[in-house]
Symmetry: C2
Subunit: 276 residues, 2 copies
Amino acid sequence: MKKSTIEDVAKRAGVSKGTVSAVMNARNTVSLHTRDHVLKVMKELHFRPQGIARNLRNGNQYKSIGIIIKDLNYPFFTAIASGVREYASSKGYSLIITSSEYSHHAEEQLSQFFSAKDVKGAIIAPLVDGTAEIEHLFKLKMINYPFVLLADVKGIQANVVAIDNSNAIKKAVKYLMDHGHTRIVHFAGPPSSSHTLERIEGFRHAFSESMLAFREDMVVSVGSRHEESYGNTLDYFRERNRSEYPTAIVCFNDGQALAILRALKELGIRVPEDIS
Amino acid sequence: MKKSTIEDVAKRAGVSKGTVSAVMNARNTVSLHTRDHVLKVMKELHFRPQGIARNLRNGNQYKSIGIIIKDLNYPFFTAIASGVREYASSKGYSLIITSSEYSHHAEEQLSQFFSAKDVKGAIIAPLVDGTAEIEHLFKLKMINYPFVLLADVKGIQANVVAIDNSNAIKKAVKYLMDHGHTRIVHFAGPPSSSHTLERIEGFRHAFSESMLAFREDMVVSVGSRHEESYGNTLDYFRERNRSEYPTAIVCFNDGQALAILRALKELGIRVPEDIS
DNA sequence: CAATACCATTGAATCGTTTCAGAAGTTTGC
DNA sequence: GCAAACTTCTGAAACGATTCAATGGTATTG
């Protein structure tokens, strides 16, 4: 059963398209009798007007921007979305939220959706790990579609808003130093992530700008997946005795921090009494 | 500066619309020379094709459904969204997530957006508290737009998926009874919410189906906003002595439970040792 | 050099609505 | 009984892109 159009309805009801349109838009220029008849025919044909066609004719009055995050269950992303929504809202824009859930195909679909529906612009947290597939970003550029990336993508010239990984960690370390810590260790994230590398760099930097010496064993690769970080943390502390424990740990992200806290608790190490 | 159309570009570049279209779609039937020229003109006019127009002509091939939740920072809603996304994805649909953040105006805007952009259908968590403004739902019905509500809305005939409040609480209470609790109290939500009423009803029901007698003072109205619930809980326990304490509390929702836990901790009442 | 193939381009038709000037029919007013 | 006013309805134009048969021009072939 083909989708029926306003013309089908008009024909079957024996009126003009204009009249059907008037009925739909509840204009009072149509007699009760024809109105009812047209409505009946609409039901019969299961008629549903095509929003796209109305939208074209009426002009696209919807002020909206879109965002593609990578993970709906990762509070970091939903917090970003929420913040963006708030600001957008203050400017009269709606925020349309979508998530790729780490699928390249979904990311492509969603960016297409945004441009096809004339969402005014998009914020995209791109999948950069692995071999990046970026033709869809090129497509957006080709049609001049405005978008901002939440991470650098090699081969794409675009506006990027990203975390200043290096400085953030540097600040954290300096804070700890200012509070008297000397045995500080960084539990780093997955080696494949550029965030991990930049944060390690910031960690080193903090030392080179201080009186304290940096040693390679101050950076421990424990990953960011929960079980992995948890296990690695257990191992780390079991492999050394209490006198070698750091007095402070700089974590990679919240999720990892939770895994570490869990491991420390199991080991009977108190936070923040024993370790900050 | 009016938005420029493909026709403006064509005119200025001295070619036909068809040619401009061919350039945009990277068809290889265009000579390099005209191609470059057209691209240059496109830049000059800051031309961006209207997705809506392409979409109309090409047929709307995007399979997507929308959801309007009420609060991005309320995990209950994001969990729903995530679950819906997963199922939708398995059927080849994208999920478009939006949040009204308790604004009637936003809810209206967003539902309009969905129908205007031919998102195939929507799931709406409607604002039912206070004097409901529901004309936008009528509009959706008028154009036969398919939607499902996540709560009953008086005056609207539609499909509703909602929590079975009464039974859920009844189950919870019976569980506590089966574990030997006799002094069970329900800390109820805001009186304006129908959820509150239905849950109280379920609470009473559990008693009427058991050997235990229900007393009015077993239902305490503490609200659901954090500070409110926290304060009311403090008051509740300060007003009576230890022998009158319930052995189990049935809370209204997670947020309220957190506030209650905080109050109990401050009062030195242990959970679950002293109270379940 | 005629026949054929190939290349680049055109422009009218199309997608499904809404709008609005005008027509046709009915009512009112004097 | 005629003009004016009102009510209802019509149908062509418009929104902004894409498509594709037709066209004219150039290159290739025997």
